[in-house]
Symmetry: D2
Subunit: 116 residues, 4 copies
């Protein structure tokens, strides 16, 4: 069992023991994920890019909590949909590696925008 699957399993137990599975429809979990991601963005909205690269320890600890929440809901959502999250990310990355050859797109923000 890999590390992410271990987290998945603990989250499943956590929800089942509290009878909270009823709230965990994919629709609701996708909303919760949006809300938690916005809590990350909230920390960065008025910072310059440079400032966002140099958070002090207190701010970084706050952002860490929000990142944790996002991973938790993401893993839970994948589980409810029967999706292997890690495998999906690996496959997507392999596709991106083939689609954007380093020697053709290097440093290009235009290519980068298209990439996304």
């Amino acid at each position: 069992m890999n590390e992410l699957d271990n987290l998945r399993s603990r989250l499943e137990t956590f929800a089942r023991e509290r009878d909270w599975e009823q709230f965990h429809s994919p629709k609701n979990l996708s909303m919760a994920l949006s809300v938690e991601v916005a809590e990350i963005a909230e920390h960065f909205q008025w910072l310059t890019e440079e400032q966002s690269r140099e958070l002090d320890a207190a701010k970084r600890a706050e952002v860490e909590q929000e990142l944790a929440d996002v991973l938790i809901y993401l893993v839970r959502l994948a589980d409810q949909l029967g999706i292997d999250l890690l495998e999906a990310a690996r496959r997507k990355l392999a596709v991106n590696e083939a689609k954007y050859p380093a020697d053709k797109v290097r440093g290009s923000s235009r290519k980068y925008s298209e990439y996304d």
Copy 2:
């Protein structure tokens, strides 16, 4: 090296080889994360909760791509901030387990709302 750390390392190489690190400020990555999460929500916005639990294979394959993108940006953002994502999620879950004892909050949507 755990599985998520392996993904982190591949993403770092991917960005470095394309000279795309310049675009990956935490501010920008938090925006990209918001955008990808919205692409998940887009699939669910007009579905009932029940429908969201019963996606057909084609729709599920589309959602899988979006989940992959979210994990990719989340791992990349954590890396840029020097945050151990898996460890942060484990700690957060431990806090939640202590804060919401199963026998006190079972099935309560009110407690659930407060929980969040």
Copy 3:
């Protein structure tokens, strides 16, 4: 001067008097808009659709604050981009009226999904 333009003008004065225009790049305002919209979604994430139609007065007053924030940032963003928000919405609605003839799409959730 229409009502929305009046709000636009007051917001411009508000920012200028506080020397906050420097923070109001379209990029930053689009992030602020995301954050405020998520604060609306936060109220609805664990509710059923039915419950979301029947908020009590206290909850509705909270949601009202969030809606106000969204309109404020939306008007401000449109202003910074030189976009006439009301005119843009009217044109978009006219396009939608032509694109989705009532007698062809009535009650269809499939058409509705495509619509969006």
Copy 4:
């Protein structure tokens, strides 16, 4: 009838004639709002703040469409909740004017962050 109320009325007719009111629960509309706002953010995510202030005409026309969609869903959501959007924004702005006296907060990003 003010301009925004006129838009509200047209949107109500639009939904009723297509029997789409059934999809317009506040929960669903809040999700649609999130999705549309993310489509704005998508245009700005990899731009610098400076670049976001200087969109070319083609890009600005695209962003205008997204702003229109956000206003449309916002007006529709306010209508479904029985909220007077314009009045709510005016009241909120009056509160902010009192809370952040220009001579005390001028140019301060710290005050600005607290403001938000």
